[in-house]
Point group: C2
Chain length 467, copies 2
């Protein structure tokens, strides 16, 4: 570390070591700032690596593979890779992947000479944090801060969490054995992902959400398709319903009572309705900052809080709370903090939901375009019309391109099906680089690929225009 | 069909119903030409659907899945989905996918009012073909022709083919049972794909090729990586070697003698060195056309043969002989034949090799750029550094971006690993639409995806420039 030219210990202290914090710290290190990153977990990676993204995606890969769910179109509905799947089979690869990710992050922080401090950090003054760990208490000061402390599951008082039969998403992978039936409360990203995975495993899943559809921000046609596929896997959807109470019965079963009077009895309940930003013991009062009722910090377009030298990025500021977007926010916060001109291109942000099936999109959906009065048309390709869709056994997948009727500009791409999260990046590049429908119509795609859906969808769109 | 305004039966006759022929016919139908397509197989789809692309890709999906080869990094080297894999398990899905593809093509031809004629077609005059089938003999005339008769495996006289232990790629999936050992002669696309699949199945594979490396047109670094992975699966590579003779011994074993004197004894030999265009009984003499010694027809940039109203497209004209490029050639041939201005964008063509692992590239490789004196730099991402690479268990995959040192223009993308054939299309779009390295550096990718390799590779490239 270079000697401090100012009276502060660091140019930047980053609190929280998830994707937002990491990128904020590394960006600062790249421009040779003195940086420290503090993590309360005593391990890098944040929720993303340790309890959220990576564990759930690892679980999903294991589910897809061990159930052979995609293969059932080929080998028959009774096909299983493993007939008696245990939780241990499903979490086996998880620790391995987590360890690799943690080592990768550690290595990257070290290589960039970011100081990593472990312990719980709280502001004790505008430029000073106190860090409490098992090793003791220290204070560190910095000119600027990025708060990237993340969020944790919200736990309402009418749900009697016990960590074993009534639990939140942090605990779900600690289940000792697979339940026969599972109630999932909350149809957001996390609830939906887990509900689909357990359904694929053959667990009887009931989903409850107060809205009329799951994943409210996703294109309606895709969600209709998703509802259909969830129900095909045996999921019972209780939409437009609210939970009145949720408690464990003497025989160990969990009773969830809905405000409509319905009662759901199941082995377990995963409560996953909302998250709370982890700001409650951060000493925000010492900065004169106030978080909202869910702990969220408000920021401006530069990710600056009302205290101009304190930035916030990632889950702590709320939607979309995805690893990819959080990483970008962290980087942009640092760039603004140190006056780096961000010459980055204006690339539309992708959204990825790792359910079974995957959902991913970029740009606007049909509702949004209709509200804005944009004269658009759509082109659709179904996986089942595509050789690779048949080869993979995903016959329900679809890709939809929304484009401007006159200019052919691509306004949005919406995909549900295998590899949606990968495929979306072709559409993203075409949107960002103004390729338009012409590009997709004329490009030659490897055969057989799912990428061919882009061409089929573009031709479908053209044919609609011709009429 | 509309009434003929000329004295010919059709405006266009297409001979051969593979990807090139289909696209040629449909393109003509779209501009309301009277079109017929003739196929000697009495079934649409050509080699692509019936004996080549689709069957081999279907075989590959089954191999990947049933061997669980990618899962061995997670579940251990001894892991198998099915311990006693039979040929029947591997070809089970093949017929299903073929049938779906055939129906799709038939449907498309019918919808576009293309007449489909079955039988063997040969020219009997410059504008007339005679079609011989079990139903009888007819003659049809047309103003223009597209010859898309494809190719078949080359069978040299020093190899004693018997269809059971010494066979070519058309027969490989008719094997009654999996051999214990297999010699593959020819390191082109087909030989390499099958060699890798059988190796993944645990068959002892020996590959013979007269060149010093497999897939000579692919970037050298990728091929080094591919050689390494093939050898890791137990493949013995005999490169720079030529076959002197190959014959069946009395005990049923096949003895392959190399010109260097080496002898390889194996259960079976797949001979896959070159293909011959299926032009020998096409009546080319009636047109005054002469094919080369491998039956190939020469064409100009518009896919026109020396007889200006006769076009040729697809495998019959040789390299690259991929379904994707053949389809494009067929379409372009028709466009030129009827004077349609092809306003299609100049999109670089992708190459896809469906081996285990997959290989795909677009643009130029390092050898080509070096020969041309282009000052390029490379950026590399390895799947094992990427969360999804770890999740998928592919730790050997890599993605390489070649870009111009000064302009940042992307000159080529080269991928080896899972989903390479899909991922390449992100790079293809960026190349075609001039996104450059900046785009890849700045884009936000879903996490975790293999698509993130693009960002990691771009950052790697930038860091090299900075030095």
């Amino acid at each position: 570390m270079k000697k401090a030219p100012t009276s502060y210990d660091y140019d930047l202290i980053v609190i929280g070591c998830g994707p937002a914090g990491q990128r904020a710290a590394i960006q600062a290190a790249k421009i040779r700032k003195r940086v420290a990153i503090i993590d309360s977990r005593e391990v890098v990676g944040g929720v993303c690596v340790n309890t959220g993204t990576i564990p759930s995606k690892s679980f999903k890969e294991a589910v897809l593979f061990l159930t052979g769910i995609r293969q059932r179109n080929i080998y028959g509905a009774g096909f299983r890779v493993k007939t008696d799947i245990q939780m241990a089979d499903l979490t086996l690869r998880c620790n391995h992947v987590m360890q690799v990710e943690i080592e990768t992050i550690k290595n990257q922080l070290q290589r960039n000479r970011v100081d990593t401090l472990y312990g719980h950090a709280a502001f004790v003054g505008p430029h000073t944090v106190e860090i409490v760990s098992s090793a003791g208490t220290t204070r560190k000061s910095a000119e600027r801060f990025v708060v990237a402390v993340g969020a944790r599951p919200y736990r309402p008082p009418n749900v009697e969490f016990n960590g074993s039969s009534i639990f939140d998403s942090d605990d779900v992978l600690n289940l000792k054995k697979l339940p026969r039936d599972l109630t999932v409360v909350g149809g957001g990203v996390i609830g939906t992902e887990y509900a689909s995975m357990f359904a694929a495993l053959g667990v009887n899943v009931t989903m409850v959400d107060q809205r009329k559809r799951l994943l409210g921000f996703v294109d309606e046609e895709l969600i209709d398709c998703f509802h259909y596929q969830m129900r095909s896997m045996g999921v019972q959807l209780r939409l437009g319903e609210e939970v009145a109470s949720c408690k464990s019965r003497e025989d160990g079963q969990v009773v969830t009572v809905l405000k409509s009077g319905k009662v759901i009895v199941s082995d377990c309940v995963l409560y996953s309705a909302g998250r709370v930003s982890a700001t409650n013991d951060l000493g925000l009062d010492k900065l004169g900052l106030v978080a909202d009722e869910r702990g969220k910090l408000a920021v401006n377009d530069n990710f600056q809080t009302e205290v101009s030298h304190v930035y916030a990025a990632g889950d702590v500021i709320g939607f979309p709370a995805l690893a990819s977007t959080s990483a970008r926010q962290g980087r942009l916060a640092t760039c603004h903090a140190f006056g780096i001109e961000e010459q980055s291109m204006d690339v539309p942000l992708p959204f990825g939901i790792y359910a079974i099936p995957e959902i991913s999109y970029v740009g606007r959906n049909e509702d949004e375009l209709t509200r804005e009065g944009v004269p658009y048309e759509s082109g659709i390709a179904r996986y089942r019309e595509i050789a690779r869709g048949q080869l993979l056994g995903d016959v329900n997948g679809m890709l939809k391109v929304l484009f401007h009727r006159e200019s052919g500009e691509v306004l949005g791409v919406h995909i549900i099906g295998e590899y949606a999260t990968e495929l979306i990046h072709i559409g993203q590049a075409v949107m960002a680089l103004k390729g338009g429908l012409n590009y997709l119509k004329d490009a030659v795609f490897n055969y057989p690929t799912l990428a061919e859906c882009y061409k089929v969808a573009a031709l479908d769109g053209y044919n609609k225009l011709r009429k």
